[in-house]
Point group: C2
């Protein structure tokens, strides 16, 4: 059926990885198909042979990255449930993968623009992630968080801290201890209930 078994899929993945790099360096708007093609030794038309448009290429890049991220998150939790410690581990892992963090920071912010091809992707992603994170928090800390917070409030705050720290870290890696600050936030959530006066 297929000539060289999986040759097409290999080529496609090669292109996707190059595309992620270029998106990380220049953002989606600033990236050109030609520059991605150059990186894999193809012509611009060669890339478009595998992906019908720049939009679709972006969509597949995001899908692939999400799969891999899920691997990192789920693998350590093998056999056990995912905990806040697992999430802190992901932040630590990210601190060693600047390119990937940069691509997601830039692309997610870009996606808030009207008619951006990744808008729906990120909107849905945040929605489901928040619901899922709220359950992780509830499972570990219960319903009673400090200052009367609910897990449904803590979840969006958690992602806000992750994203916001990434931005500051990308601008000044030497000044920002991203994993340390994230753990500091976690300890804020884990603190025992407050004493009334």
């Amino acid at each position: 059926m297929v000539r060289r078994r999986g040759a097409r899929e290999n080529r496609r993945e090669e292109i996707l990885l190059a595309a992620l790099d270029v998106f990380a360096e220049r953002g989606y708007t600033g990236a050109s198909i030609a520059s991605i093609a150059e990186r894999v030794g193809l012509s611009q038309q060669g890339v478009l042979h595998y992906f019908p448009s720049k939009d679709r290429l972006l969509a597949e890049v995001l899908r692939l990255r999400d799969e891999r991220n899920l691997d990192v998150l789920v693998l350590p939790g093998e056999g056990g449930a995912i905990t806040l410690e697992t999430v802190a581990g992901l932040v630590e892992y990210n601190a060693q993968r600047r390119g990937i963090v940069q691509s997601f920071t830039v692309l997610s912010a870009e996606s808030v623009l009207e008619d951006h091809p990744a808008r729906d992707f990120f909107k849905e992603r945040y929605g489901t992630s928040r619901a899922w994170m709220a359950e992780v928090i509830r499972a570990e800390l219960g319903d009673e968080l400090p200052a009367g917070l609910t897990p449904e409030q803590a979840a969006p705050l958690m992602f806000a801290v992750m994203d916001g720290l990434q931005l500051q870290w990308l601008l000044a890696p030497d000044d920002i201890d991203m994993p340390g600050l994230f753990r500091a936030f976690l300890s804020l959530l884990r603190a025992r209930r407050s004493v009334s006066e």
Copy 2:
């Protein structure tokens, strides 16, 4: 001396406001000088008569916006010091100014890219803002924060929460109560010290 007193300055400001709008809609890379010019009824070269390059135009847009933001922050604190409540007020104010929030979210994320003209601006801005915010926190809450946090740790977390919430809010304004969640985070910082076991 000047023909129409301040005519030039008025025109410049007109252009800056239009530029902020376009940057908010398309980001810096995606925005064209021509589209900004169209909005003020000039040709592309008319805009370049007032600002020598796109880079410089961006620089002045950011400077102007920062001034205005400072006004909002300082005005309510008239006579008194700036408090965490003032900051919460700024978040509330932002929740009514989608365009401005969007422009800053997109531009700050874009600025992490190599050779981006706004890189230094945002890097410096975050640096000074963190130092300043740490002092606001220390003045109001002292050195003893929940979970053993220092004001120097709380400050970057605070900006992370602000920025991260903005991103989620821009993607799903109906799902995210930005000011409410920010206040929830503040209450985490204000909670009394934990009871050991």
